[in-house]
Symmetry: C2
Subunit: 193 residues, 2 copies
């Protein structure tokens, strides 16, 4: 059942992504719902609610992607899957991902701290993959895991600006993986599919 409430959060994500949190008025949201603006307050208690829920959904989706990566896989394989997962989340929920990445600073109060914490936790999980890859000898021993994670996270955090639904996201993720792990100079080790 698609409730009216969830439809509202969907529209909120869409408009916040397109015009920004401060650039989207309650009136805009009401118009998108085909309703008078006062009527929205039967569903929410403030505009901030909608921002928070979009952010929380983003955090959930990104973490869930990492959760699906098998523990026993080699670190480099985990990194490849993490890249796929992240880009897939962005492609599948472009609005949510866009808001998650660039509107978090408009969250207020402790909800903001909560989301910032989720972000940091996610980054730490990525960084751990590189640490693991280096310590297990899959990646070069002089690898700085902080710099490596920074590079990868930067790359994918920007993805919302150019990713489009329908493109082959998985293949793009693997291309990124190949460039990052094997480099642009040397030849890639051939991979299966």
């Amino acid at each position: 059942m698609t409730t009216r409430r969830s439809e509202l959060t969907r529209q909120a994500a869409r408009l916040f992504a397109a015009k920004g949190y401060h650039g989207t008025s309650i009136g805009d949201l009401a118009e998108a719902m085909g309703v008078q603006k006062g009527s929205l307050y039967a569903h929410i208690s403030s505009k901030q609610d909608l921002l928070y829920e979009t952010m929380a959904e983003g955090a959930r989706a990104f973490h869930a992607g990492l959760d699906a990566i098998p523990d026993e896989a080699p670190a480099t394989e985990k990194i490849r899957l993490a890249l796929r997962s992240h880009l897939q989340v962005v492609a599948d929920q472009l609005d949510v991902a866009t808001v998650f990445v660039q509107e978090w600073r408009y969250l207020e109060g402790e909800r903001r701290e909560e989301i910032v914490g989720e972000r940091r936790r996610y980054e730490e999980r990525i960084r751990a993959l590189f640490r693991e890859g280096r310590d297990l000898g899959e990646l070069r021993t002089d690898l700085d895991d902080a710099t490596a994670a920074l590079l990868v996270l930067s790359a994918v955090n920007w993805a919302y600006t150019w990713l489009q639904r329908g493109r082959d996201t998985v293949e793009l993720a693997d291309r990124f993986y190949s460039l990052l792990v094997d480099g642009m100079r040397g030849y890639a080790t051939p991979r299966t599919s």
Copy 2:
């Protein structure tokens, strides 16, 4: 001579970076200038002016960085210098770079098209470096220059979120370069300083 006008654009960049364009009011700007809000209109004719000027300054700075790269250098060296240059601009003009990267969509009218065009031109210049590197045999022959440029531009476009003045930006740029060109798996070819 530091005019009152240029002080205003500086403050605008600072506030737009910190709170966003729509999150910054004319009143905020006036307060930062120690002045009544109506007084600002002796210097500008609209709030959009300030946004546009910040964006134009950003475009100018990024392009100027690339202009300083010698034509006769090897393509890989140009890429390294481009990375340095970009991160240096971000570090030196953090506010301007931040606004340039994330507030451009609030520009209206043809000024928006102008800035978007400058952005695209910049991206094309980066992409040309990878094309050159591949065609001249410095980079792997199967390199997709579009993907490579996307990866690098994504990485540096995110830089404003974590770069801090005072950090050794040049060294960080070179580390990124090493990871990207030599990869995370293989060993880097030793380089001079």
